[in-house]
Subunit: 298 residues, 2 copies
Amino acid sequence: MSKCPACLAPLGDGDFLPLARHLVGRAGESDPDHVRWLNQNLTRKKTDPAGLVPGLRQVYALGPMGIRGWIKAKFIAKFYGKAPHPFVVALQHPSRATLLGYVVEHQHFLRQWVRSCAYIIARTDQPKAIHYELDNLNTEFGGLGPGRVSHYELLLRMGESLGVDRAKVLSTEPLPATRRAIAGWNEIAVTEHWVSVVAAMHSLELIANRNLVDEGASVRYFDPAILKGSAITEASQQFLREGYEADVGHSDEALGLVAEYADTPALLEDVQSVFFRSIDLFDEYLLARLQRAADFEA
Amino acid sequence: MSKCPACLAPLGDGDFLPLARHLVGRAGESDPDHVRWLNQNLTRKKTDPAGLVPGLRQVYALGPMGIRGWIKAKFIAKFYGKAPHPFVVALQHPSRATLLGYVVEHQHFLRQWVRSCAYIIARTDQPKAIHYELDNLNTEFGGLGPGRVSHYELLLRMGESLGVDRAKVLSTEPLPATRRAIAGWNEIAVTEHWVSVVAAMHSLELIANRNLVDEGASVRYFDPAILKGSAITEASQQFLREGYEADVGHSDEALGLVAEYADTPALLEDVQSVFFRSIDLFDEYLLARLQRAADFEA
């Protein structure tokens, strides 16, 4: 285990004992990232390092479905368990405030998305990954001709349909949690192996993957009923529909790239740790959307 | 002057004297990059640092056409003067060997092109630059749908039409000069300001800009007559035509971005030095195409 899943500090190769020592040490100093990771993934009980090793080994065990199945299972456990993430709960039948919290913070997320995926293109040696990310950037930010509007543009239109113009959205600074998450993803994009960056970013698209309910997710990202009727604006429906339809194939294809190119045990373990770090950042970022929503409550 | 145009070493702000001292010092050690830069841009005579300052000031003076005009003038002087670059001379009515030298080395150039432009997307804060580079990556490497073939694909087809299959092209290592140039551009992409990276890379597209003859270039990249008739293969015509038609707008638009976003005197000077470094790398790289062509001489 060469990287801490809570902070990506290098730990040197070898077994799980150095990681266990690091986690216990940092949690003992009450560092929130390490406390949270231990609580969510291993135990809430104070345990000595040697006692953590079997649990850590189990957490990192890939199982018969390999890295793809492992990532999906961890993602579902974190965001789509018995108690889904609070933002997902709010999005089932979203208020105007929830959608506007989404718009204002997500604008910053998508700008970082572009940066992270561009770093993958810049740092990979695999044409297949370049083509995948180029297609992705076109969809998310570029738009392809007048008939195809980018996901970023659809987001801004959702905000306008809810009464907040794009100048206001674009000039609003991100909340501290969003800023921190973005900084974390940028650091990952600059420093981690490109395969880990693919895993870190595209695993997040699983949030909108409607097929996760077939693999154990308790709910979908939102109740698909809101895509019809008039509970939310038409522009909001368009934004959510794009993600709902696009991200299924997208995240599956990306996990396929990870499975194909994470071709050493050491790289696979790095992918796992970087993924863990990324979903913790995402957790905080999704809470920031809710925090922003409060600004728009009546 | 904060960077040396021959090696991009930082020099500290201020007047041209630190640069003059650095150039004289490094040339005194017979460093070929510094000797060449001095010879081509200032003087072949041994001069003391203070004596070089007026010349340096003149070389960097932007003149009434601003950074765009300055870049074009320097580019023309270097590649399209009375004695055009030897590769350009060979390309006027190219042999099979010349075109194959182009294919084998340029494959590597285009892979670096993708990396450099992806770094611009990753590191810029300007959506306009993102859209420009995304469009560029689609054209050069992505291809847009079955009707639109990427420039990279057209290059490989040119090779095939001349009897060298793509597996052979893709598995041929670059010549040392190409490798060195690519490493230099990658270093620029990773470390320099994104506006300097735009200038460094897209100025190189001027090589195929057919309008440069209106601004003083002695010849075009090739004799346009070869785009008709059967002197070269149809796939070669297609490859050369794409560049001939595409790169005019492309390089002009990029220089527009440079003019717009190089908004401080210090950044403008950096852009100039990075551009100088990039065209020296390009000079060597174009010679590598000719060197490779020798492998295919009958």
